[in-house]
């Protein structure tokens, strides 16, 4: 087995793929809440991806990737035996593991995979762990079984009501609260608006919220400052100070604006990629 080699590939649904990658040094040192930077080709972007699992004994790490732009689409076209060009990490500050009492882990979409290792390590630390999983529709809801097996309670919510309760994760959280569930701390990973509104609701319900931020990153090692976010009025670098921050006072609107900066160019890049992929050459020259 070679470094960066994909040893296992599992298609979880149309757009989400799970990869197990051989990378012993990271497998040995990874902790919950950290991420890796992946590159797929020469000239390719450095893409931050949360570590979902790691196995020091096998020397492998697990990531779960949703194809959104060009780079993630390229990654998800990789097959077992292919190699990522670069895998760097583990990056970022791990979440603080202790017994908080009752903890809610809230995952939206592919964020469910990203919050999974946090749920596991908090369970091991003696917390009562409640999982709230949200997705647009049933097909996009991943890792439900793993969460059910791990957590003390798991609630699913889909926007269209195709699975679990109909509504958002905030509706599920409110429901748990109304049913008398006393939650101390929350860890939220998902789309920015979902993290924003869940953080607000948690704060209102007396739960201390934390959110894992996903700003644009370049090096991911604290060098470029592209990922700066405002937390409690202070500028922090998500790549080294985070990505998980207490989220009561995060300036989510600023994060939304800063992550939108390259959207038209990202779209152009993805369209080029899809055109190349779909192009079946009829010229007969190659």
């Amino acid at each position: 087995m070679q470094e960066n080699e994909i040893v296992l590939r599992e298609q979880l649904n149309d757009v989400i793929v799970k990869f197990e990658i051989y990378k012993p040094l990271i497998a040995k040192s990874a902790r919950a809440g950290q991420f890796v930077i992946l590159r797929g080709r020469e000239g390719g972007e450095r893409v931050p991806v949360t570590l979902v699992d790691w196995n020091a004994h096998k020397g492998t790490i697990t990531v779960i990737i949703q194809a959104i732009g060009k780079s993630t689409s390229l990654f998800n076209s990789f097959q077992k035996g292919d190699k990522f060009l670069n895998v760097a990490g583990p990056l970022g500050t791990p979440v603080e593991v202790k017994n908080y009492g009752t903890v809610a882990v809230v995952g939206g979409g592919v964020g469910i995979a990203e919050v999974f290792p946090i749920a596991r390590v908090l369970k091991q630390a003696g917390n009562k762990v409640i999982a709230i999983l949200g997705a647009r529709t049933k097909d996009l809801l991943i890792l439900e079984k793993e969460m059910v097996d791990l957590c003390d309670k798991t609630v699913c919510a889909t926007d269209d009501g195709s699975y679990g309760m109909k509504g958002m994760v905030t509706d599920a959280l409110q429901m748990l609260h109304d049913a008398g569930e006393k939650i101390n701390v929350g860890f939220i990973i998902g789309p920015i608006p979902m993290m924003k509104f869940t953080s607000r609701l948690m704060d209102k319900l007396g739960i201390v919220p934390h959110a894992s931020l996903n700003p644009i990153m370049l090096d991911g090692t604290g060098m470029c400052g592209c990922c700066r976010v405002t937390v409690e009025g202070q500028v922090r670098f998500a790549c080294v100070d985070g990505p998980m921050f207490p989220s009561k006072t995060i300036d989510f609107d600023e994060l939304i604006r800063r992550t939108s900066e390259y959207r038209p160019l990202e779209k152009e890049s993805l369209e080029n990629f899809q055109r190349e992929k779909d192009h079946i050459c009829k010229c007969g020259l190659h």
Partner: protein, 462 residues
């Protein structure tokens, strides 16, 4: 016969209105004739002040004598006795502060163009296959790891390999060269020059490993269990921001981000490469050091309407090399002095629309002897801008210090050294910007070479 009174030859340069549209190198390497003529100007002083003032002690009159005689192989070997990166040094060393600044011809006829001669020697030797990796001493069996692959670490690695040690270089990024790769633009230092110099060091047996962020992937303590000594050359990779309101606006870059997008990620080739970059029409660069010049000149090449460097002191206090400032001006970069930024103004979408400045006058000198800017009351005004690049300095990257509690650092994150150049951990040495907080490529290399000698002695070598 030496011909010192001949005019100093600066070689050919791309014309400013051509080069500001491309990322190709500004200056061309000397032709053989230009090199010969420039070499003829050298007086070969017995007590050569140029050599005495070279941070890495290049034997300047001797190598120039070989150039004059047309023996490029001997010339490059002479340089490489003390400096293994001649093509890089010839390009980015501030010669006007070191060798050329001390040339006896400087005031009367203009200093010998030592930088261009070094560069010619390295480039020509490379092209003709005369540049060979230096011989290494018999294997010592000792293992040394260098953290980072910037100029300091590469210099240390090469010297340690020359002394016979088994050397590994860990780089956090995907490409090698550190600040040479992510900071210095290709129009000053072509990417293939970095590649070639690293190939030379690889040919000496040094192993280069990417994607290892020491402090995260492996700790210094873990490295000490696998290696006999550690050299920390991880540089000053933490950007300093101004801290003024609006700095997180859309369209505000740190110089590190802006230059990393362009240099490391090659964003100016988007969509052939995947990392994009955006430039507005009115670009303002805050700061006037070498990174500020690199950022301003790179910005110019992305073709905005204007690029303006705004500096809080006057032209005389600019920290950038004079030649870089001159190049920037030729390319159309504007300069405005005695301005302190107070706020970055943004529109309803959070996008930069201007900078609020106050005007300064120069007051008493500070501890470095530079006159301090003093704000003029009531001088506030707004300058329009849609891209702002903050280039006011860098500090050491804190990742290693944070994960190595025994490693003593100052409040600014600079690794502390004793008189023998040792850190607070036995077997761990450091140099370059991690101990200087932000200096030059050549001083970083000097630290690397000196640390290599100390490590060699620590490992029982002579």
């Amino acid at each position: 016969m030496p011909n010192p009174s001949a005019p100093r030859n600066n070689g050919y340069q791309q014309a400013p209105d051509v080069r500001k549209h491309n990322f190709e190198e500004v200056a061309h390497t000397f032709t053989d004739e230009q090199a010969h003529n420039e070499a003829e100007r050298c007086l070969h002083c017995k007590n050569a002040r140029c050599q005495a003032n070279c941070p890495v002690g290049v034997q300047i009159p001797d190598f120039i004598a070989y150039v004059k005689g047309g023996n490029i192989g001997a010339a490059v070997s002479k340089i490489m006795e003390t400096s293994l990166l001649p093509a890089i040094c010839g390009r980015v060393c501030p010669q006007e502060k070191h060798c050329e600044g001390n040339c006896v011809l400087k005031d009367k006829f203009g200093a010998v163009n030592i930088g261009m001669l070094e560069r010619y020697t390295a480039d020509t030797a490379r092209k003709q296959g005369l540049l060979k990796a230096p011989k290494t001493a018999p294997k010592t069996g000792k293992k040394v790891v260098c953290i980072g692959s910037g100029p300091s670490s590469i210099a240390a690695a090469a010297e340690l390999a020359r002394a016979g040690h088994d050397v590994t270089v860990f780089e956090a990024l995907h490409a090698f060269g550190g600040v040479l790769r992510y900071g210095i633009p290709s129009f000053r230092l072509p990417r293939e020059v970095i590649d070639h110099e690293i190939e030379t060091v690889k040919a000496m047996g040094v192993k280069f490993i990417p994607d290892v962020l020491v402090g995260a992937t492996q700790t210094v303590k873990e490295l000490l269990a696998q290696f006999d000594a550690v050299y920390v050359g991880s540089g000053a990779g933490l950007p300093t921001m101004t801290g003024i309101p609006g700095e997180n606006g859309v369209g505000v870059y740190s110089a590190n981000e802006f230059l990393t997008r362009i240099n490391l990620m090659q964003a100016y080739k988007f969509p052939q490469t995947d990392t994009p970059i955006k430039i507005g029409q009115q670009v303002v660069v805050l700061g006037a050091g070498n990174s500020a010049m690199d950022a301003a000149r790179s910005a110019m090449r992305l073709e905005p309407q204007s690029v303006t460097v705004c500096y809080r002191r006057s032209a005389a206090e600019m920290p950038a090399r004079a030649a870089e400032v001159e190049h920037a001006k030729e390319e159309g970069v504007g300069f405005e002095f005695l301005l302190t930024p107070k706020e970055i103004l943004t529109d309803e979408n959070g996008r930069v629309k201007g900078i609020k400045f106050t005007r300064n006058e120069l007051g008493a000198p500070d501890e470095k002897g530079r006159r301090r800017p003093v704000e003029i009351p009531g001088s506030e005004f707004v300058k329009e801008a849609d891209t702002v690049i903050v280039a006011i300095g860098q500090r050491p990257n804190p990742v290693i210090a944070k994960t190595t509690p025994d490693l003593k650092t100052t409040s600014r994150g600079v690794v502390e050294m004793d008189e023998q150049g040792k850190t607070s951990i036995p077997g761990v040495y450091a140099g370059g910007d991690i101990i200087r907080g932000g200096a030059t490529v050549l001083l970083a290399m000097k630290d690397g070479i000196e640390a290599a000698k100390r490590i060699h002695a620590y490992l029982g070598g002579k």
